[in-house]
């Protein structure tokens, strides 16, 4: 069974969702001459979760930061909602690979920080932050400081901070990389629920093929630096059932296998 047939299975008769983020012929050369991306074009459909999967150092973070408006591309442009990106905007929120928490601020203030910068009153932003802290399972840690948390807990603070600003597009750079397996699975369920219930678009980076297949509507496979799209896969994994059953489902296992075969040659 080829991925293409998965895709045709998955595609219903409904018109395809419109692309909310459009990456047009992006190239990025870092000062010093490292060419991270070259002539990369990619659309991200609204309301879906698209995963970027590729070898370490291939430019996933770079691409995400260009979309976020944090890095200027050397060539090409990014459109969000049809508008060219010239910097960060309120419709996009970023979950950082290295968490980027303020070491001198409590969990509460860290989570509320995006809202603080938007000028929300203290009471208002802390109410929202408390809500999100509860969502990511950190209730009771509001007054702790980052250095008192484990890596996974810090990551969840970063996640809560991005969720708190209620952006349409969430750019998540390996958001579950440091959490334990149980929490990771819980987060994957939460993420699926978020995608299902909210009209948010997710751009997700992960190194785990299983995770990508489990949570994604689309998986973009990237080649080594300078990055190119080698393939786009739309896993036809049944949703909304028993998670363990899904993980044993034939199409889930097949897709994992296909991707693994596609990426295997990067290992050597």
């Amino acid at each position: 069974m080829t991925p293409a047939s998965h895709a045709s299975q998955a595609a219903p008769a409904a018109p395809p969702p419109r692309p909310i983020v459009q990456v047009e012929r992006i190239g990025k050369v870092y000062p010093g001459g490292v060419e991270a991306l070259s002539d990369l074009s990619l659309d991200f459909p609204e309301g879906q979760l698209t995963t970027l999967l590729g070898p370490s150092g291939c430019g996933k973070t770079t691409l995400l930061k260009i979309i976020a408006g944090l890095i200027e591309p050397t060539r090409g442009q990014v459109l969000v909602d049809g508008q060219p990106v010239s910097g960060p905007g309120p419709e996009r929120a970023f979950v950082f690979q290295d968490f980027a928490l303020l070491p001198w601020a409590s969990v509460l203030r860290n989570v509320a920080f995006g809202l603080e910068l938007r000028g929300l009153a203290k009471g208002e932003r802390e109410a929202i932050a408390e809500q999100q802290i509860q969502e990511v399972g950190l209730k009771g840690f509001e007054q702790h400081f980052p250095h008192q948390l484990s890596g996974g807990m810090r990551q969840r603070v970063g996640l809560a901070r991005a969720l708190a600003v209620d952006a349409k597009v969430l750019l998540m750079d390996e958001p579950f990389s440091a959490v334990d397996e149980q929490t990771r699975r819980k987060f994957q369920e939460d993420l699926l629920a978020l995608v299902a219930h909210q009209k948010k678009t997710f751009l997700f980076v992960t190194h785990s093929i299983e995770e990508a297949v489990y949570v994604s509507d689309r998986i973009v496979l990237l080649s080594r630096r300078p990055s190119q799209v080698t393939r786009i896969i739309e896993p036809a994994v049944p949703r909304g059932g028993d998670p363990d059953a899904i993980r044993r489902h034939a199409s889930y296992l097949d897709t994992v296998e296909t991707i693994w075969r596609g990426l295997k040659h990067y290992v050597d």
């Binding site: 408006g69 303020l102 995006g114 910068l117 702790h144 008192q148």
Partner: protein, 271 residues
């Protein structure tokens, strides 16, 4: 540029010492203090030099000066140029350093000057200050300022310049304005190194204050030192020196305590 690296203590990896009751920190510190004082007493009894009083005599002189109030009066006088000088160099120095860290043009103009001054023996300027401003308070304040300023400026500059890039990026991604980024990210991130600079500046300022009192006109503690030396009252001289050294160390500890209490809530909880 090497001199941009200002004088920072090198981080030491904590090592799990195997703790034995006999190795208890306070026991060893007490023992060490006792040993040094005993050696002082012994050297004074020998005596290794007619100008070397015993510890007991020094302590007695210290108590006497404490009782008649002369020691505290002298400290108070020494403290005046010191406090004024440190206040000026602290405010001005941090402002200049932060401005240099935020603005390339200011950096280009200012940094070389302070880099040169940091390695320079600025004490050589004291005769000039005396010549220009006489032997009064102004000269002493300025002495404290020139000694304390370079390290304060350069630490503030380096701290601001080396704000973690990922925090700045985070602030930008959440649409922080330049002003917000400076107030909510740059300055708090820089504050530990800025405070380290203030402590180093305070230590340098003390050196300057005492030097001014010894070189320009004997006042305060400098007066006790010079006067008791001239009448060969060595116990009083040693007591005054020990007092000012202890005082400066306590003062710098107090700065650190204040910093942690006021500015670093995260440092108050145990790591």
């Amino acid at each position: 540029m090497s001199t941009l690296i200002t004088e920072q203590p090198i981080a030491v990896a904590p090592r799990p010492w195997t703790d034995h009751a006999l190795l208890h920190p306070w026991l060893l510190r007490g023992l060490s203090l006792a040993l040094v004082l005993a050696a002082w007493e012994y050297a004074g009894r020998v005596p290794i030099s007619p100008a070397f009083p015993t510890f007991a005599d020094t302590a007695a002189a210290w108590l006497a000066m404490l009782q008649d109030g002369s020691l505290l009066r002298a400290l108070w006088i020494t403290l005046q140029p010191l406090a004024i000088g440190l206040l000026i160099s602290g405010l001005l120095g941090v402002a200049i350093g932060v401005a240099m860290g935020l603005n390339r043009l200011t950096e280009w103009f200012g940094a070389p000057i302070f880099i040169v001054l940091q390695s320079a023996p600025l004490a050589a300027l004291i005769p000039l200050l005396t010549f220009a401003y006489g032997i009064g308070l102004t000269s002493k304040v300025l002495t404290v300022c020139i000694m304390a300023m370079p390290v304060i400026v350069l630490n503030a500059f380096n701290a601001v310049r080396h704000t973690p890039g990922s925090l700045l990026e985070m602030g930008k991604s959440f649409l922080g304005s330049k002003r917000q980024l400076i107030l909510a990210i740059v300055l708090p991130a820089a504050s530990p190194v800025i405070f380290a600079g203030l402590r180093l500046g305070a230590a340098a300022g003390f050196i300057g204050a005492i030097l001014a009192e010894l070189l320009i006109t004997p006042t305060g503690i400098g007066d006790i030192i010079t006067y008791s030396q001239s009448i060969a009252d060595y116990p009083a001289m040693y007591a005054a020196i020990a007092t000012v050294i202890l005082f400066s160390v306590l003062f710098i500890e107090l700065l650190e305590w204040l910093e942690i209490r006021l500015f670093r809530p995260d440092q108050r909880v145990p790591r």
